[in-house]
Amino acid sequence: MAEVSLKGVKKSYGRVDVIKGVDIHINDGEFVVFVGPSGCGKSTLLRMIAGLEDITDGTLEIGGRVVNELQPKERGVAMVFQSYAIFPHMTVRENMAFGLTIAGASKQEKEEKVAEAARILQMEHLLDRRPSQLSGGQRQRVAIGRAITRKPAVFLFDEPLSNLDAALRMDMRMEIGRLHKQLGTTMIYVTHDQVEAMTLADKIVVLKDGEVMQTGAPMELYHEPANRFVAGFLGAPSMNFLGVDVLDLDGEAATVGNPSLEPIRIATRGRQFRKDGKAILGVRPQHLRAAQPAKGMLHGTVVLAERLGSETVVDLVLRDDRKLIATFDEDKIFEPGDALELSFDTALAHLFPDEG
């Protein structure tokens, strides 16, 4: 059990900065997910916490102790890798007891701890198998088991589900969530999959190009994204962004519009805009509703409709040739070429500065 604290942590390879000064505080027992696109530095950050990569600058504390210069084994962390990294020549039992074997634990202690971990992971019947006789999900469970037996202060997961197929991924995701509730240990989990991030995390850290974009609870990030990147990264299908003109400004809101959008008032949430300037309007596809003809805020034409049963995803082209995606909760039939009027709750829309 431990807090983890990163202060101004940086990582450079030669002149290339991959982590550009990251401050994150992780409370004891918290489940934190680092999420971001490929190459954002999330895995590097995790490996720095594990001790597999040097820290160029800044301090890393685990349990109130600065561990920058400590070997991985002295940091009290356990790690689960994307490629499982279980030892192919050992049985499941030997794999799970590996850390204890290294530490020179007694046979009895190993038996007890492996039995306990196997019970937690419901894999008692697999203990005498070799990794080659296991499925991907089972292998990952062995890797998690190996982490559990050492009772680490912090669990680190590096994209543990990326090598599994979709159905298995969901099972394992739930299992990891359950495991966290059961053990109550601090866990840091790296993924590029926003669904894993949203479902598992107590706190999400969104990273981009080695910088923290936003930190917060999943719903906080979903409903109150700090910037356009976070808004676009979380949620599927991702948020629609429309270029709009700022027609009018008053204290807390701006009136915006464009050729296919009726002028509407959107809260600025403290962001700065210029009258007659440009801005980006963000609307989630789920927040769009079909409106009565001639009463909608957005006017478009259906290009493609995907019926998933539980929902319908519609690709639209607006009057000014801009693309838009809308999803409807029920199974609706749209034909390509149909005119469609849409409206949305302006309180759920976001306005971002136009940076480019």
Binding site: L52, K73, V77, F87, H89
Partner: protein, 354 residues
């Protein structure tokens, strides 16, 4: 169903034919020839017709017996001793000449039990010496060369500036012909002013007495072993290196996080990961060591006092030197059986148990 492969069968065979012909002519046929000839009395050039002799060649090579010699006794029944106090025995020849069972056999080595002398006699003592030398060579060279190659591979399997220079240096002897290497090492081992003697004398400030490394029966075989290990160690180093690089880096990272020390990492990650490479290296080294020939041919010609005779050298020596084709063939067949047996045993010992 006719696929493109079966349709183009004729073309395929046409392409493969030269290769097949070469393999057939130079590997398959000679192999069966050797087995066939070992059962005859074929000579390289002979006016007499070849005759089938069954296993006579094998008996001639492998014939072994132990005879006991009682000491010569005086009238009182006491063993006669010479001036130095050694017991006097009758001459071995008296037995081997009189008993048709031992005809033509000569003494290989002897030991005494009580007052009696027990003598191992062999119908072909040189072959026996060659057999023992070959086994000694394999027993020393295989583990030392394999182990040394692994140590070198571990050393050069690092990301260091200029590591390729070391890789090249270690690999260089492999590209040089063994004949050239042997010639050079003859100078190094020279008894008068060889490099090795000079270095040893320099290091001991002249206290070291020069040794004629290749001219002394007790140092000739070890000298050849040392040179052979040096020459091919780079080759096996590269094979080990290839094996090392197939081990996933994440396994090392996992071991590091679990707290494994360097030696534990080697024991639990590196060595198990090299299992298949180890089998390959072991079998290849063993086969190569059994085939020891060029070094002997260039450096010692089997001498001094037959102390560096080997099976392959004897096979060639007999077949071409003495024009005894059947004898040479017999030795190569025996060598084949030995190497096959040992390889199968090695394969079985190192089989996958899971």
């Amino acid at each position: 169903m006719a696929s493109k492969l079966t349709l183009s069968n004729r073309t395929g065979w046409a392409f493969a034919l030269p290769g097949f012909a070469l393999i057939l002519g130079f590997i398959v046929l000679p192999f069966f020839f050797a087995i066939g000839l070992s059962l005859t009395n074929q000579r390289l050039i002979s006016p007499n017709p070849t005759q089938f002799v069954g296993f006579q060649n094998y008996q001639q090579l492998l014939g072994l017996a132990v005879v006991t010699l009682e000491p010569e006794r005086d009238d009182a029944g006491e063993a006669i001793r010479n001036e130095a106090g050694d017991i006097q025995y009758p001459r071995l020849r008296e037995i081997t000449r009189s008993d048709p069972q031992y005809r033509g056999m000569r003494e290989w080595f002897r030991w005494t039990s009580g007052e009696n002398a027990r003598i191992v006699i062999a119908s072909d003592v040189v072959f026996m010496k060659a057999l023992v030398n070959t086994f000694l060579f394999v027993l020393v060279v295989a583990p030392v060369q394999g182990g040394l190659a692994l140590v070198l591979a571990l050393l050069i399997n690092q990301k260091l500036r200029g590591i390729n220079v070391f890789r090249t240096i270690y690999f260089m002897p492999v590209v040089v012909s063994i004949v050239v290497v042997s010639l050079l090492w003859r100078f190094i081992y020279d008894g008068q002013n060889g490099l090795l003697n000079s270095i040893l004398q320099g290091l001991t400030f002249g206290l070291f007495q020069p040794v004629d490394w290749l001219g002394n029966p007790s140092t000739a075989l070890p000298a050849i072993m040392a040179m052979s290990i040096w020459q091919a160690v780079g080759f096996f180093m590269v094979i080990w290196l290839a094996g090392l690089q197939t081990i996933s880096p994440t396994l090392y990272e996992a071991a590091a996080i679990e707290g494994a020390s360097k030696s534990q990492t080697f024991r639990y990650v590196t060595w198990p990961g090299l299992r298949n490479t180890a089998v390959l290296v072991l079998i290849v080294i063993t086969m190569q060591a059994f085939a020891l020939f060029a070094q002997i041919d260039v450096m010692t010609n089997g001498g001094p006092l037959d102390s560096t005779q080997t099976l392959v050298f004897q096979s060639v020596e007999r077949g071409y030197g003495k024009q005894d084709i059947s004898g040479g063939s017999t030795i190569s067949v025996i060598l084949f059986v030995i190497v096959l047996t040992i390889s199968l045993i090695q394969r079985w010992l190192t089989r996958e148990r899971y």
